[in-house]
Amino acid sequence: MDRREPECGARYVYAVVRPGAAAERLAGLTGVAGLPVRLVETDRLAAAVSDVPAEEYSEESLKLRLEDLDWVEATARAHHAVIEALGSGGAVLPLRLATVYHSDDRVRDLLREREEEFGALLTRLAGHLEWGVKIYALPEAPAPAPVGATTGAASGRDYLRQRRAAREHREDAWLAAARVGERIDRELAGLVADTRRYRPQEGRLAELSALPGVNVANVAYLVAVDDADRFRALVQEIAAEDPRVRVDVTGPWAPYSFASGAS
């Protein structure tokens, strides 16, 4: 077997789980760079890891690689696949992308040092999944189109009035989106165990979506598995009430957004 010397190797760590059942979920699974995934266990906890070449995760390499969107995407998707495989069998505590340790022993040290914290988090997250809710303002949605606007040649005053109406309509879309967000927060409070707000999505990656609209809210909700259907139905119901607003629901996700403790 061409095993690497431990000194040359490194452990890419995906997640912390309870030991036991997780192992069978990893069989045959490939992680980052197509590498196999295995567990490093203590009595109470386990970490899912892949053995990676240390030089690829050195400070210098990582800096370069994180600038390379193809690498970032491949790594993120591989990381995500491992999290989903683990999560389908029980609570999982995903780690942030590209967390790397020198050896199994160091990973075990970490699990022991933070055993209490990780255990509490796994307990808190058990039975819950994360849902993403992205709210978009649709300023181009059916404006109260002034008559005659299509044939042009309106008077200057008409033109200005149309401009103003268009601007107000655009502002209305933003306000409408904000209202939808508030309603979701208010009316779903009873179904939501925790909330985390991300910055609205913009920029090139976000624009890859062919759908129109400007993202004004990007929120993750932690919801009990049993409440998921009601949660989604209510979000859709609230979203459907205003044509100037679109709401995208993503998920279910492993509880990425709630893995860092607090609360």
Binding site: L62, S88, R96, V100, H102, L129, G132, L205, V225
Partner: protein, 72 residues
């Protein structure tokens, strides 16, 4: 044997789907447990790296104080 935690029903709890990269990166670069990995002197620098990555993915790292990370 640890009992298989029943909270996530085995099977298609997660839809078979290709998630949008931008949604995934929100979670993987701004969510997740943050540990000081060792090679991760590297990771200490990820903050810096993220700044330039942000030029490409402006959505990723909330500049807002992170309520999840901010607590005790």
């Amino acid at each position: 044997m640890t009992d298989l935690l029943p909270e996530l029903r085995p099977g298609p709890a997660y839809a078979e789907r290709r998630v949008a990269l931008v949604d995934l990166l929100d979670r993987l670069l701004a969510g997740g447990v943050v540990l000081d990995g060792e090679l991760s002197l590297c990771i200490a620098d990820v903050e810096l790296v993220r700044v330039s990555l942000r030029a490409l993915i402006t959505a990723v790292e909330a500049r807002l104080p992170d309520p999840a990370a901010g607590g005790e």
